[in-house]
């Protein structure tokens, strides 16, 4: 009997070694990741109490619908491509579901697509302003990340907290962004423009939403989508455009 127990124990150790050996070899080969994010929480600028009954009911549906909004990041150490999953094409354009998904997506206020080249410290993003799509190429954002002591588990990974700041030229506001990154995945990518930490960003806490990782898939190979940047404007041109558009809008609202 004792022999059986000790035999079983040895077998367990061998199986554990094979298991860990397999996974460590998989991760050592891992050069790419496909990361799926979702909107885990939305934050209203005002209050649901200020809405009428129809508005309150509708808002509750929007909050539930937010969980269906997914974003996909494909990344290596050198490049990344981020975009929202095309959920809108799956539903009827004139359905309430479609309208609620548009509203839910807007809380994160992400760009349509973001392509990053970490080697060259450049990003190309696609932004819709006033119903018009623009392509902008610029240097990566500087968030002046400050790494904090707090940790938490996200999808079973140990994540560390960091805080950064950035100025949003569209709303002309300075924001604090809280990010949780995974040091054991030493890739400086993250959702949308949020990157530059010593590990994959698993969660960002933004002004309008919390966006959290839903799935991390290590891949041995993947093609990271490149974007057409031939018509891209510079950051300076983009800032000038935003300034003009904001001025027009302010003038109209004042009038």
């Amino acid at each position: 009997m004792n022999f059986l127990f000790s035999h079983n124990g040895t077998l367990k150790i061998i199986l554990c070694l094979i298991f860990f050996g397999f996974f460590s070899s998989l991760f050592s080969q891992t050069k790419y990741y496909k990361v799926t994010y979702y909107i885990s929480e939305i934050k209203l600028h005002g209050s649901i109490d200020n809405l009428d009954e129809k508005g309150k009911r509708f808002t509750e549906q929007v909050i539930n619908r937010a969980k269906d909004v997914n974003y996909i990041l494909t990344t290596s150490k050198e490049y990344s491509y981020f975009e929202s999953e095309n959920v809108l094409s799956k539903v009827n354009e004139y359905s309430q579901e479609h309208m609620q998904l548009i509203l839910a997506k807007r809380f994160a206020s992400f760009n349509e697509k973001v392509y990053s080249n970490f080697k060259k410290d450049s990003i190309v993003f696609f932004r819709n302003l006033g119903g018009q799509d623009y392509v902008v190429k610029r240097k990566g954002y500087v968030f002046n990340w400050k790494i904090k002591k707090e940790t938490k588990k996200i999808l079973g990974y140990d994540a560390m907290k960091a805080e950064g700041r950035y100025f949003d030229i569209i709303t002309k506001e300075d924001f604090v962004v809280e990010a949780w990154f995974i040091p054991t995945i030493p890739i400086q990518s993250g959702p949308d423009i949020f990157m530059g930490l010593p590990g994959l960003i698993a969660e960002v806490n933004l002004k309008g939403a919390v966006v959290t990782v839903d799935k991390i898939e290590p891949l041995v190979s993947v093609k990271i989508k490149k974007v057409d940047e031939s018509k891209a404007m510079t950051q300076q041109e983009f800032e000038s455009l935003v300034g003009n558009l904001n001025k027009k809008m302010e003038n109209y609202i004042e009038d």
Binding site: L103, F107, G131, M249, Y252, I253
Partner: protein, 78 residues
């Protein structure tokens, strides 16, 4: 009421300003179609209230969605 009328025309203004980057005539025509509604209609005020509570109002970053949503809402309910 004046404010509501102003908001409906914002998008037209933005399109005019942006026209140098795209096919001007085609864009303006399609956006004018989207804006072909009466400002006092309920879809407009419904979404206007939502945008205020959700995002702090209509701005250049969300005005495209705002117009699209109002137009779709009208197609459904008005």
């Amino acid at each position: 009421m004046k404010k509501l009328y102003s908001l409906t025309t914002i998008h037209i203004m933005l399109i005019s300003l942006n026209a140098h980057t795209t096919n001007y005539n085609e864009t303006v025509a399609s956006k004018l179609e989207l804006l072909a509604f009466e400002p006092e209609q309920s879809c407009f005020s419904f979404y206007h209230d939502l945008f205020n509570e959700y995002y702090g109002g209509v701005n250049i970053g969300n005005v495209g969605d705002f117009n699209g949503l109002v137009a779709n809402c009208q197609a459904l309910f008005e």
